[in-house]
Structures are given as structure tokens and as C-alpha cells.
């Protein structure tokens, strides 16, 4: 058995792991980053980045045989010929679904930060106050003001575009110039503002460099080219991924060691020393075991895998999983309700079109139960909508074949609108993950059992969105409004959160206000697993801000000699 010593170990190289690595290395800590998958180098390992549609054998469609073998990942909107090399195939990493759960994963350096939808909204004070005020989960141990400077810290570095809208429900950040709405999106926005005093749609905020600043150029990143082929990896570094941004930055410091193909078996607790001493790793390829030692551990393996690692980290002191005195580990898993969507058409604005492909949509911040509980359901939802002119797939006036037809469908058609919900779900004890007692993976690690489902509240929220969404589009003069409940399983939102929640009381939570284990202070968990509730915002920005905050707290505590 080999041993290696570090100041800090970061488990996971994705969205938030990259941030832990950057903050720790920026402060001169000798940091080991563990990634279970293969290496992916910025620019070099984006094999499809410049491909044209006709360069893909099936024009970017995943063949039926691959879909049949991998039904779970095939349901993900981003799983295409252009991106399949960044996704975990179902067959490679099985898990046990006690209830249907589409677990979407990316096992490589960069993790899912290569693939994410890149939408970044701050939580509002109402989101942090929600559980305490409305009596669910546990009260967040922090408030908006605690996180606001860390939102700024992350936003300035990754670069996010947005408009200064001045909304209490969706606080402004450190914005680069915003993307533009098209004619019908502006029309719908005007109509919503006129008809509803509580609703204020804004242009989406996303982690794209619309106008790079010195700090972005210093990362070797450039302006977003409005290609919207982001999930292939961006050859311009136009959006934030840990691969293009935080990891190379940390590497440049000289303090980072990146170890790929490192499947984490467990975090090692020393019963005699009464603290965690390191991480046990099994090599993905050779299956050889290595123990790595460090003063502090950052667990950023992505929500469910962070739960798995903790549950599998057993010792005499923690027989039910590391830091699990509260017996809440693996429980109170929540996600975002994405089931509702709708389409509509609008006659008019035929004299307007657009240029370039915008990597965001219009966002309508949550307007339900914001200031007080006044709906028959808990919490609410954010609405995203966007519009485009119909393409060649439509029927036209006259013949549906021939020269005229071909010329007509080669031009833009009627405006078509798509609207979707992003609903908060309520963390509950029964929505949980646990270790399988008898099924293990290729490395002898117990498989994860997922037992996460919808509840009555989710149905009510869905119905409210379908009604309100239709009404808003109808009032804007849209026609042919068609609503849809996709019935999709939890997980496909790829916004799973919780399981090692933050809280004030060690008896009912795993982590304290610094995303630090109550019962095991040299371990920090600041990816999705730490979330006490889900809000209605896309969550990655909050994971990154919490991680940066946790890392800086750890550094201070180490300097004081407390860790």
C-alpha cells in the first residue's frame, strides 16, 4: 500500500470540486484532486467541438441500439452523438432504483461542468428563509447576506451575463452584458408585466463571457461566440467549466496534484485520533488501493455520489456513515420538478428575426408563496420561456412537396413559444438513498439504492404552473397552447440535492453553517449534497459559492490551528 500526504484532498473535479481546488491552491495549500474518471484537457479533449451536423454519422442522433442499452442516459436532452463521450452509460455504472430515478452522471475531469445548462441565478432571501418560515426540512443555518459576497466572488471569476433588474426575488449579480430577447419574447414579457403586478420576466443569466474581463483572459478564456454547442466543450472557453477555468488556474499555482482514475472507496476516520485522516482510493483500471492523507477533506463528488462516499465511510465511531450521528445522512433528498411544459404559437412579428444562438432563455422568478404562504401548496416555481421561428419541419400553405414547398420551408415560419417550469420540491425523510446490502460495483463498493419520488405537493405545483403558464400565454395573444406533463422521473432534472444537509442542530443535520461536518470538523461537503432545500433557481452557482465560502473558512481555521 502506497501513502501520500497533502494539506487538502478534494474529491471530485467538477463544478464545485474545481472551486475547492482553486480556493485551496490560491492560498498555498498542497491539494490533491481526485477524479474517478479519465482526464479531459481543455481544448485538446473536445473531439466534436468543430463538427458540422453532416460530420456525424447519424447527424447527432444516438442510434437505437445505444438507446436500448442505455435507457436512462438516453432520456437526457443533452445526450447526443456530439456529447456521448462525456456521459456515463447505464451499463457501466449500475444502481438500484427502488423508485424510478434517472441518475445522469459525467465521470471525467470536469464532471458535469462540461455538460451543464449554464444558467446561474442567485437565491433570494426568501429562498433561504423558506424552510424555517413554512415549516419543512430544517431552517437554513445561513441567510442570503452570508452568501452574497461569495456569489460575487464566484461570479467575477467565472463570468456571468445578465441584466441589472433590481428584483428582490432574483438578486442581481456581478454581470457581464446581457443577452437579448427576441421580438415575441419581449412581447410576452410586456404582456405579463401589464397583466400581473407580481410577475417580472428577465433575460436569463448564464455563465458565458459576453465581454471577457482581464480575469477571464488570464484564465485563457475568450468571448462566447453564440454557437450554443457548449456541451461538446467550448474551444473558446466561452462558458465556465472546471476544465476550462478553475482547474487549470489551480494547476498553474503549482499546488495542485490531479489524480485521475481514482475511485473513492471511503473517507478514513481514525478512531484513536478522533478525526478524518485521509481518503481510500481504488484505481479504476488496476483496482489497486491507495490511501491518501490530508488535514482537510472536501467532498465534491456530486450530490448522490457524495452521499454514497459518506455512507460507505464506516468506522467504529461512525458505524452508519461518516458524520451521521443525526441519522439523517442520505435522507431529505430533493430535486426540481420539471414535469410541466407547454408550447404555443403567435401570429405576428413576421418582419423580425434573430442572429446568433443565445445560450439562455427568459426567466420568470417565482411568484408563488414569496412573501407569505398563500397558495394551497408549499413553495413555487421558476418559469423559463423562449421563442423561435418555426423551421423546415412545418406544414406550409399549398402543396406539401415540390419546388415551392422546398423554398417556403427554407425560410423561417410562425413564431413558436416553449415554456417550462422549474419547481421547488420539499425535502422529506422518505426521499432517500442508501447502500445496497448485497449489490456492489466493479470496485467492490456497494451500489446506491435510490428511493426518491414526487408527492401531492408536486402535483399541485405542476397544475398551478400549467394553469398560470397557459393563462399568461393566452393573455399575450398566443394560440394553440398545448400543455404537457412529461411524467419524467426525478433525477432527469439533474438538480438532485440534499442527503447531507446543512442545519443549526447536529441532531437534525449533517453539516453546519460552513458546510462542515458537525461531528467531524475536518470534512466539508459543499456540492448539491449540502442543500437544506432546493429553491427554484438552477443550483450550480449556489454550490460554487458555498464551496468557495467553505474553503476559505477551512483555510482560516487551519491558520488558527483549529483544523
Amino acid at each position: 500500500m502506497i501513502e501520500e500526504n497533502y494539506d487538502a484532498i478534494v474529491i471530485g473535479s467538477g463544478m464545485s470540486g474545481g472551486w475547492a481546488a482553486k480556493e485551496l491552491c490560491d492560498n498555498g495549500l498542497k491539494t490533491l484532486v481526485l477524479e474517478r474518471g479519465r482526464d479531459v484537457k481543455h481544448l485538446k479533449d473536445y473531439p466534436t467541438a468543430y463538427k458540422n451536423p453532416w460530420d456525424f454519422p447519424h447527424r447527432n442522433t444516438i442510434p437505437e441500439s445505444v438507446q436500448k442499452e442505455n435507457p436512462i442516459v438516453s432520456r437526457c436532452y443533452a445526450f447526443k452523438e456530439a456529447t456521448e463521450h462525456f456521459f456515463v452509460k447505464d451499463t457501466e455504472h449500475p444502481y438500484v432504483q427502488e423508485k424510478p430515478f434517472d441518475w445522469i452522471r459525467g465521470y471525467q475531469v470536469g464532471g458535469k461542468s462540461l455538460l451543464w445548462a449554464r444558467q446561474v441565478q442567485r437565491w433570494s432571501k426568501y429562498d433561504f428563509e423558506g424552510p424555517g418560515r413554512d415549516g419543512f426540512a430544517v431552517d437554513w443555518p445561513i441567510r442570503y447576506d452570508d452568501l452574497a459576497p461569495w456569489y460575487s466572488h464566484v461570479e467575477e471569476f467565472i463570468g456571468i451575463s445578465g441584466n441589472y433588474d433590481g428584483l428582490e426575488t432574483l438578486p442581481d449579480g456581478e454581470f457581464l452584458p446581457p443577452w437579448e430577447m427576441n421580438a415575441i419574447e419581449k412581447h410576452i414579457r410586456r404582456s405579463i408585466k401589464e397583466n400581473y403586478s407580481d410577475r417580472y420576466p428577465v433575460i436569463g443569466r448564464c455563465a458565458h463571457l459576453t465581454e471577457p474581463k482581464e480575469i477571464h483572459l488570464a484564465q485563457g478564456r475568450g468571448k462566447c461566440q453564440a454557437r450554443n454547442m457548449c456541451d461538446r466543450g467550448c474551444p473558446f472557453g466561452g462558458y465556465y467549466s472546471s476544465t476550462s477555468s478553475t482547474l487549470p488556474w489551480a494547476e498553474k499555482s503549482g499546488f495542485m496534484t490531479l489524480r485521475t482514475d481514482a475511485v473513492v472507496h471511503s473517507i478514513m476516520y481514525d478512531d484513536a485520533k478522533e478525526k478524518v485522516t485521509g481518503v481510500r482510493v481504488i484505481d479504476r483500471l488496476t483496482k489497486e488501493t491507495t490511501d491518501y492523507f490530508a488535514r482537510v477533506i472536501f467532498l465534491n463528488a456530486a450530490c448522490l455520489n457524495s452521499n454514497l462516499v459518506l455512507l460507505n465511510s464506516k468506522s467504529e465511531r461512525f458505524p452508519n456513515g461518516l458524520g451521521n450521528d443525526s441519522n439523517t445522512l442520505g435522507k431529505y433528498i430533493a430535486f426540481h420538478n420539471y414535469r410541466g411544459s407547454m408550447t404555443a404559437k403567435y401570429d405576428g412579428y413576421q418582419d423580425s428575426y434573430y442572429f446568433g444562438r443565445r445560450p439562455t432563455a427568459v426567466m420568470l422568478p417565482n411568484f408563488r408563496n414569496v412573501f407569505k404562504q398563500d397558495m394551497p401548496f408549499k413553495r413555487g416555481y421558476m418559469v423559463h420561456y423562449s421563442a423561435a421561428r418555426e423551421n423546415w419541419g412545418r406544414d406550409v400553405a399549398g402543396d406539401q412537396f415540390g419546388a415551392d414547398y422546398k423554398e417556403k420551408i427554407s425560410r423561417p415560419g410562425t413564431w413558436s413559444i416553449h415554456m417550462m417550469m422549474q419547481g421547488e420540491t420539499i425535502p422529506k425523510e422518505e426521499n432517500h438513498v442508501r447502500l445496497s446490502p448485497d449489490q456492489v460495483d466493479e470496485w467492490g463498493i456497494p451500489q446506491l439504492v435510490t428511493s426518491v419520488g414526487y408527492d401531492e405537493n408536486d402535483e399541485l405545483v405542476l397544475q398551478d404552473f400549467l394553469e398560470q403558464g397557459s393563462e399568461m400565454l393566452e393573455k399575450a395573444g398566443c394560440r394553440d397552447i398545448v400543455t404537457k406533463d412529461s411524467g419524467q422521473a426525478p433525477g432527469l432534472d439533474i438538480h438532485e440535492m440534499g442527503g447531507a444537509r446543512m442545519g443549526k442542530d447536529p441532531k437534525s443535520s449533517v453539516l453546519n453553517k460552513w458546510s462542515q461536518m458537525h461531528d467531524c470538523p475536518n470534512v466539508f461537503v459543499a456540492d448539491g449534497a449540502c442543500m437544506t432545500s432546493t429553491g427554484t433557481q438552477n443550483p450550480s452557482l449556489t454550490f460554487m459559492a458555498l464551496t468557495a465560502r467553505a474553503a476559505n473558512h477551512a483555510i482560516e481555521e487551519m491558520e488558527k490551528g483549529n483544523l
Binding site: 458540422n52 453532416w54 437505437e64 430577447m181 461566440q225 428575426y353 446568433g356 444562438r357 422546398k406
Partner: protein, 170 residues
């Protein structure tokens, strides 16, 4: 040294590259596709983009089993009907007759759609036409000539005047 077998198979074209199709299908499918998307003054049509070849690949690899069955059955029927009614295969017919056949398929598939249940498979012609359109507009000719292809726009404008230009390919 040449092995005897190599010499013997010299004239045999060997198995066709798509198991579900045969020699001549590329030509026939290109002919059908070209009735739907013909050459126009500035823009080559579906045959020029060799959509016929793509259809066979796409049906083989990307259709769901039920779609595949429906397509192959419909395609066989199409060949038989054309031969029996028009006394010749589709490729050799006059453009009037080709138009007549496609027109009747348009009508037939439209009627078929009226009572179609969500779990049921589309009419053969609907599947075929969908694949022709997809194959053509994602081909180099379709994307760059019928449409405007701009892989790296560099910037974005939400609301610009429209004066009849071709649609964006992406």
C-alpha cells in the same frame, strides 16, 4: 500471392451495406426524395445531397423497432403498388406520374394521422418524409445552400429586421 477465392469473388458485389435494403434502393429513395425536395434555381435538391443513402442508414440504426417494421412494410407496398399500377418502377416514371404518387401519399398519410393514437406508429410516408427532411437539411447542401449556415456567429442580436432571407440552419 493471390488466393484463388479473391479471384473468384471479383465480379460478386458482395452483401449490400445495409442489411435491410438492397442494390437500387439508394437510387429509388433519392428519386422519391427529389420529388419532395427537387433542385431549384439556386439550390440543389435531395438527390444531390444523396439523402437516399442517409435514409437507409437512419432507418437501420436510429428507427425504433416498430417504426422500422412499419417503414419496411410500407416501402415494400410502395414498390409493389407503383409497379402494378404504373407498370414500371418509380424511377422510370414521368415527373407527372411521380408527383401523382407523392400527392396521393400526402393525402393518405394525412388521413391516417387523424385517428392515430399516441402509442401507434406513423404512416410509412410520414416516417419517410420526416427522414428526408431531416437528412436533407442536416446535409452540407441543405444546411449551407437551402438554409444559412453559420457555425460561429460571434455575437447575438435578438430582434433584427427580416426581409425574406433563408432560415438559419442551426
Amino acid at each position: 500471392m493471390l488466393l484463388p477465392g479473391v479471384l473468384l469473388t471479383g465480379c460478386d458485389p458482395g452483401p449490400y451495406k445495409y442489411e435491410l435494403f438492397n442494390w437500387g434502393d439508394t437510387e429509388l429513395l433519392n428519386e422519391i426524395a427529389d420529388v419532395i425536395l427537387p433542385d431549384t434555381p439556386e439550390v440543389p435538391g435531395a438527390k444531390a445531397a444523396n439523402v437516399g443513402d442517409f435514409i437507409q442508414l437512419y432507418v437501420t440504426d436510429c428507427y425504433k423497432p416498430k417504426q422500422k417494421t412499419a417503414f419496411l412494410k410500407g416501402y415494400d407496398d410502395f414498390k409493389l403498388t407503383t409497379t402494378s399500377i404504373y407498370n414500371g418502377d418509380f424511377t422510370s416514371l414521368s415527373s407527372e406520374k411521380k408527383n401523382e404518387i407523392i400527392d396521393s401519399l400526402e393525402k393518405e398519410s394525412k388521413e391516417f394521422k387523424i385517428n392515430l393514437q399516441p402509442e401507434e406508429v406513423d404512416h410509412f410516408y410520414t416516417l419517410l418524409k420526416g427522414t428526408i427532411l431531416f437528412g436533407y437539411f442536416t446535409s452540407e447542401i441543405g444546411a449551407t445552400k437551402a438554409l444559412r449556415y453559420l457555425p460561429t456567429p460571434g455575437e447575438q442580436h435578438g430582434d433584427i429586421p427580416y426581409n425574406g432571407e433563408r432560415a438559419w440552419a442551426l
